[in-house]
């Protein structure tokens, strides 16, 4: 059996090998035959190409004999194919008169009939070959037959026909643009332009006529041709195209406007800008960059401030800079010059340069990436401030916007203290707290309000001096509104500090442990609560969520003069104790001490205590728990479902 199979497969492989060998040989044979035919036909073709009626008589005779011979060749289809191929190859390498003779020979030999027959084939590649052959050999009137393939659904045939029609004669492009309903790829457009370039003495038509086409690709191609042939006379038509529904056409038209410097189109571009998409907006900004002037700055600034798209906004800024160089300066990733230590010799060079440039800067009114309005900061020179009365320095702050008032006051303080002195140390007497108070008193009412507003906006960022100033205002300000606002700032700051302390580890208190009463979060809140209602609410909250930590504080409050508070405190203590007991029971105690504590909290009589050993024994024996009512009667709270194994202490204890 195995031998039979081996024999079978051996035979099959042998057949396969023979088949491959045969097909390879036959192909080689065909190739060899073609090469032989080519070598046979080469001198014949050369003779035909270079024959002249003025040649000697012997050569004339030879020419006649060759003509007869070649007629015989032409009866056979394979020879015709070889002849066509030879002529097609040769026409690529020769030029001038020889090429013209070659075309003539092709027609004389009637080879074009084969090419025309190929157009009737149903196979796309045969049709394509036929079109290519007819167009390469310049067969007259073939264009009429090729035209019908311009809108062929087969892409290769269509493209070949387009190239053929356009390249055949100068009017070919007109016919093509008029009749094509299909898309024209970028690559095809370039090929067509190249084909037009090969037409000798080509005079292009006015391509703006096709800007009205319904085929968007024709419009795009026409725009490309207008640019290629530099046809500037189509300004109105091109400008109108920026209103086109198609964004691709809009962008191409804008590019044309840029290339031809149609400055008058800028008005229309600014009108279409708001209703355009990103790509068109960028193209519009490109146009403004190339053609814009100072008059367009406000339009561009408006875009830079209102546009939400980052790319467009950045382009608008770049456009502004292109029209008015250096008007928009970098705004992100820069070092704050105000914080640079003037006496530090290791200040990076870049920072020093920045400082040097600061006085020359113009105010920048453009938004940054994050839409934060950038307003020029007139950076106060430390040396200038040092030599001046701080009060005067504050007065010199020009029309400070509220959000920057705090920065200015900071700058004055910080720049006055070279070497970043610790605020706890006594600083040189450049600006002291009384001086700030004096400066504050010299401020007008409006400036005071701005300063307080600035402090309100930066409550969490106040320095000690600013804090002192706010305290001063809260105490001494005659204007009750300002005084109240200063007081509110202080209160907010204290509350924020209290909140921050919750997250601060204990070691930040310099090792000093707080009194037990202050271990609760409610301690600070309670003392900051200004009215009775707030305190009662806090006590209720303590009752609801409090634990052992709240008890010392609550015990302190039991002596509160207000009866309502005392009642609430008692209720809170009871509730917390119950909660703690419930927690301990639901999470069984692990140590005897904790068990003791539990019993103490429950204030149970000694004889109600269950010995641990007995409890474990009950657990092992598996005595079922008593009803929850009984348990509640003992503990005065609900036993949770999770309390397992359950056991009846009282029942078990009394047997």
């Amino acid at each position: 059996m195995l031998w039979d199979l081996a024999l079978l497969f051996g035979l099959l492989s042998g057949f396969c090998f023979l088949f491959v060998l045969y097909s390879k040989n036959s192909r080689t044979k065909v190739g060899r035959n073609i090469a032989r035919k080519r070598s046979e036909l080469a001198p014949v073709i050369s003779n035909f190409l270079f024959h002249s009626p003025e040649d000697p008589k012997t050569e004339q005779q030879e020419y006649v004999i060759l003509k007869i011979n070649i007629r015989e060749y032409l009866y056979k289809r394979k020879y015709r194919r070889v002849l066509s191929q030879i002529l097609l190859d040769l026409q690529k390498d020769v030029a001038g008169v020889t090429r013209e003779r070659l075309y003539k020979l092709y027609l004389e030999l009637g080879l074009h009939h084969d090419a025309l027959a190929k157009l009737k084939s149903w196979r796309w590649y045969v049709i394509s070959q036929g079109i290519q052959e007819l167009s390469q050999m310049k067969v007259p009137n073939a264009e009429m037959l090729i035209r019908k393939f311009i809108n062929d659904k087969r892409g290769v045939v269509r493209k070949q026909a387009e190239l053929s029609v356009v390249g055949s004669k100068p009017e070919g492009i007109d016919y093509f643009l008029d009749t094509t309903t299909c898309s024209i790829s970028e690559w095809q457009q370039l090929k067509l332009i190249e084909t037009l370039g090969n037409i000798p003495n080509y005079c292009p038509p006015r391509f703006c006529n096709w800007l009205l086409s319904n085929n968007k690709d024709v419009v795009l191609f026409a725009l490309r041709l207008i640019k290629h042939y530099n046809q500037k006379g189509a300004e109105a038509a091109i400008t109108e195209l920026v209103k086109h529904k198609n964004d691709q056409i809009k962008v191409a038209a804008i590019q044309c406007i840029i290339d031809f410097n149609f400055e008058a189109a800028l008005d229309l571009l600014s009108k279409i800008y708001p209703i355009s998409k990103e790509s068109v907006k960028i193209a519009v900004l490109n146009a403004f960059m190339a053609l814009g002037n100072e008059k367009n700055i406000s339009f561009l600034q408006n875009i830079a401030t209102t546009e939400s798209n980052f790319l467009v906004r950045t382009k608008a800024l770049a456009t502004i800079n292109a029209i008015r160089p250096e008007s928009v300066l970098p705004s992100s990733g820069l070092i704050e010059i105000a914080n640079v230590d003037q006496h530090n010799t290791e200040v990076p060079v870049a920072e020093i340069q920045e400082e040097d440039e600061v006085p020359q800067r113009e105010p920048v009114e453009i938004s940054t990436e994050n839409d934060v309005p950038l307003i020029a900061l007139d950076v106060v020179d430390a040396e200038e401030v040092q030599g001046e009365d701080p009060a005067v320095a504050i007065e010199q702050v020009p029309a400070v916007l509220p959000e920057f008032a705090i920065d200015l006051s900071k700058n004055i303080v910080e720049l006055s203290l070279p070497g970043q002195l610790d605020e706890d140390e006594s600083p040189p007497d450049l600006i002291s707290k009384p001086d700030l108070e004096v400066a504050y008193n010299t401020m007008s009412e409006g400036e005071k309000q701005q300063l307080i507003e600035a402090f309100e906006d930066n409550t969490d960022d106040l320095s000690s001096k600013e804090h002192a100033l706010v305290a001063f205002v809260a105490q001494e300000e005659t204007n009750s509104e300002l005084g109240y606002r200063a007081f509110s700032i202080l209160r907010t700051q204290i509350q924020q500090e209290a909140t921050a302390e919750e997250t601060v580890p204990m070691d930040t208190t310099n090792g000093e442990e707080l009194p037990l009463a202050q271990h609760t979060i409610f301690y600070e809140l309670y003392h900051h609560a200004s009215d009775l209602d707030s305190r009662l609410i806090l006590l209720k909250e303590m009752a609801a969520i409090g634990d052992n930590k709240e008890l010392p504080f609550l015990y302190e409050l039991t002596n509160d003069p207000h009866a309502g508070i005392r009642d609430a405190v008692d209720a809170a203590i009871t509730a917390i104790k119950n909660n703690v007991a419930a927690t301990l029971i639901s999470n069984p105690v692990s140590t005897a001490d904790e068990h003791e504590e539990l019993l103490e909290l429950q204030e149970l009589p000694e004889d109600h205590r269950l010995p641990l050993e007995l409890a474990f024994l009950y657990e092992e024996v598996g005595i079922l728990p008593a009803s929850e009512k009984q348990a509640a009667a003992i503990f005065d709270f609900d036993l949770s479902e999770a309390f397992e194994p359950r056991f009846d202490i009282e029942k078990g204890y009394h047997g």
Binding site: A42, S46, D93, T98
Partner: protein
């Protein structure tokens, strides 16, 4: 005037045949070669009066052939290069190597004839 011998090195047999026919009609004796190795062998046996050579050839490019003739054979016979690859680098390096002229494809055989006769006159009749 003695019959001038031209060495025509072109790998496209049809074009070579066409040029050979045209050159022979003009009275030149043409030695045909279709690749670089054949050109080398032919040159080592006898030097022609002028070489017409395609740049893109099997085994040996036209530029290498110019280098071979100028530096190994130490000959100053006129060399005309033909190529469809008419990029600047090829042309410049060919001239740097010592080529006398360059014709780009598609070429007119008549133009090639004029260039050949000019080079021959320049080299042998001056």
């Amino acid at each position: 005037m003695a019959e001038r011998v031209l060495l025509l090195a072109e790998d496209d047999q049809m074009l070579a045949s066409l040029l050979q026919y045209r050159l022979e009609r003009e009275g030149y004796k043409v030695i045909m070669t279709y690749d670089g190795r054949a050109v080398k062998e032919s040159l080592q046996s006898a030097l022609p009066d002028l070489i017409v050579c395609d740049i893109m050839m099997p085994y040996l490019s036209g530029i290498e052939l110019v280098d071979f003739v100028r530096n190994e054979l130490n000959s100053d016979i006129p060399i005309i290069l033909i190529s469809s690859a008419s990029n600047d680098e090829n042309i410049i390096s060919a001239f740097e190597m010592g080529a006398n002229d360059f014709v780009a494809k598609p070429m007119s055989p008549s133009e090639l004839l004029v260039r050949i006769s000019r080079e021959i006159k320049r080299h042998y009749c001056s």
